[in-house]
Symmetry: C2
Subunit: 350 residues, 2 copies
């Protein structure tokens, strides 16, 4: 295949940050081939009210008005059923739940779900989406650690789904065979995002290599096979959410004996070519449009806005491009996943 | 307990390097409370002949003649049964086997054991010890990765032991419950070293924290419990081998998108206080002398040399010491495990 045309790609999980870092990374949504960004609310402070979410949306639209931003709230004890109805009326799409302490800016995350049942009931009623970061916190006494934190979370997913069968739920950035099987076993209201980098990495790749460290961590080869196979299968409840998460290079590259590096992998500026490259590597290139556009848009009920482009990927002139070493704006810079490595697709400029 | 006296501690697995780095780290064996160092042969080039091993021993004795150095050869196709007999006659203690590519300077490691049966036969005959780095290389197709590389190695241990029941074998730096169980199931000729850092760490501690990254990687809380429990039990075939492995700080602290950091944790200069601190933390302080001296010396048949000291540990003046941030010699420096952290024991100076 010499070129591929994809209907208005949509990234259903992305971190766009604030301030100067947002000014650098928000334009990378479009640069990476995407017209829609489902924006995570884990800012400092987290986005917990409709007003904050709308202000944040305005900030992003000032940076790049050509992208459709779908906004989320950060699930916390302050959120009320009334706030849910207000958020829905204001066009906010979902509510993100973070278990306490498991990833960047999740110190205010939740500890148990029962207390949120009134919120879930309101969400079900107004048809807002619940986005689950599906890990439980590590605990040595119960042998819970970062490699089984996702499988141990899955009973929570199944329980919420059983209790609220009409509530649309997305298990975010699945990394394990167990998660894929759990989502498959659910009804049509439960979907799952998969990142680009989890289609590439395993635990061996982030051991001693901080640039490949993210949460949830990449798991075992068999888990990666499960993620790849559900894409090969073309299952419509599994679609792209990049979890692209920029950090300044000094926070990614260096650790001291007392401080580790930041968790997160940055894929936004190369996202569509990267996903095409990866899907091609395991024989799923024909699933590209479903995975990066149709399936997610159908689940989220987001049809393509008028005027949105078809994005065309082509083979680079030499057969391969090299991924940029970094992207800079003012004093800030970010380094993309696979920096300096070869990639077999590029976006054809308009 | 206000002080503890330990008979001539012996570290049955340590990396002392060469040249200027050896000049910095070899004196740390004694500084850390140890009178005997069982020295690993993974230099550049590896130590594969009796002559090289004796030259290396002389280099170490020039740096610190007060330590007893037990030398090893690096198992490779060039080693012959004749070389084994020559090595034994020259006082060399063991032969170390590294699977290819699994750790620092192991590119020349072995791929299968059958071809070494004539070597093992000669070793059994002259009573040399076989030291096994017990991991198989990662392989995505068979779902082999750094977290199951040790359990998947264990059938090799059992097979060699069955074939050469009189050959003394040490499974080095065990990290898993499976390894502990396998060694327990063997006869009296099979023993196992345990490092200090694997008594402290789990996978969560090295994720995104390169200073805690070593090979084999620290595993799960349940595995750590198995290591701790076999020490609590006072099993005489499980004893300390620190696997203390110095790297220059820039090789530990920093990764680039194309290069990860070095694998290895440096414990030599604080080793005896650290082991005492850790054993005390899980209620095994009474096992200290067995674990760091008696058990290993009995297995290796190394009685205490005349003139060797009893090492006394005491409580620091303020109840806690802070571990040094680094150790420097000339242009070289090394950062110890737990740098800057509190530790509850110190060596009483003579």
């Amino acid at each position: 295949m010499a070129s591929i045309s994809v209907n208005s790609p949509a990234d259903f999980h992305v971190h766009l940050r604030q301030g100067s870092l947002a000014a650098l990374v928000a334009p990378h949504v479009k640069k990476g081939g995407f017209d829609l960004a489902y924006v995570m609310p884990n800012l400092k402070p987290p986005v917990t009210t409709t007003i904050q979410a709308l202000e944040y949306k305005q900030e992003l639209e000032r940076i790049d008005p050509s992208v459709e931003y779908l906004m989320t709230l950060y699930l916390c004890p302050e959120i009320t059923p009334d706030e849910i109805r207000k958020a829905k009326a204001a066009g906010i799409s979902g509510v993100k739940s973070y278990p306490r302490g498991v990833t960047t800016n999740s110190d205010g995350g939740i500890e148990s779900y029962e207390t949120y049942y009134p919120i879930f009931e309101a969400m079900e009623e107004v048809d807002m989406v619940l986005n689950l970061h599906g890990e439980i916190p590590s605990d040595a006494d119960s042998n819970t650690h970062i490699l089984n934190a996702e499988p141990k979370f899955l009973p929570h997913l199944l329980k919420i789904h059983a209790k609220f069968p009409r509530l649309r739920i997305v298990l975010e950035h699945a990394t394990t065979r167990a998660a894929v099987e759990a989502v498959k076993s659910c009804g049509p209201t439960v979907a799952c995002t998969i990142t680009a980098h989890h289609l590439a990495l395993t635990v061996d790749d982030w051991a001693g290599q901080s640039w490949n460290f993210c949460k949830p961590v990449a798991k075992f080869p068999d888990d990666r096979s499960a993620l790849r196979n559900i894409i090969i299968e073309g299952h419509p409840r599994f679609f792209l959410g990049s979890d692209s998460a920029p950090h300044l290079p000094h926070n990614k590259s260096t650790s001291t004996p007392t401080h580790g590096c930041a968790a997160g992998i940055y894929t936004s500026p190369i996202l569509l070519p990267l996903v095409a490259h990866l899907l091609e590597s395991f024989g799923a290139l024909e699933r590209l449009e479903g995975f990066v556009s149709d399936f997610g848009r159908a689940f989220y009920k987001r049809s393509i806005r008028s005027g949105n482009r078809k994005v065309v990927l082509r083979r680079p002139a030499e057969g391969k491009d090299l991924i940029n070493e970094k992207y800079v704006l003012g004093a800030d810079s970010v380094v993309p996943f696979w920096a300096g490595r070869e990639i077999g697709w590029e976006i054809a400029e308009d």
